[in-house]
Symmetry: C2
Amino acid sequence: MVEPVATSPQNVRLLGYAAAALTTSSFFPQAIKTLRSGDTSAISLRMYLLFTLGIATWAVYGLVTADGPVLVANLVTLVPAGVVLTRKLQSLLRR
Amino acid sequence: MVEPVATSPQNVRLLGYAAAALTTSSFFPQAIKTLRSGDTSAISLRMYLLFTLGIATWAVYGLVTADGPVLVANLVTLVPAGVVLTRKLQSLLRR
């Protein structure tokens, strides 16, 4: 039996890594913009608190389900998300 | 044979939905803040372009892998992410 091309294990893995590459890479331009400008006024503290805790939980989920894209994407995303969260907290403490 | 409690299918599903609840809910405070203030100056356009495309891709990945938490979380996140992206684009066009 020939498996449909669209849902072959390789294609599914590629799709997962494409999704991971997009969402993970998306946080780097924000982290760079935040570091350069130092401006976090329009950034939501609640978002970055919930989001950072959330991606840490997703990483654990990826680990226990042995889902490579979910694990790797969320571990890498912790870096820029942590940068934005740290800058936001610093700007609030400085006021 | 008794499966370890920590990785029982129910617990894994709960972990996934907890992660989904955190990352998905995180974008709502940002969307509300952006709608209320109208301020998108510190928001990265590149982030929201890549991110919105990325979560749409994650939703397709969740569909083909029959992964409920991944599918639902990403479909819901499209709403607040789309709000922030739309406001950012509007503010750039208005300049």
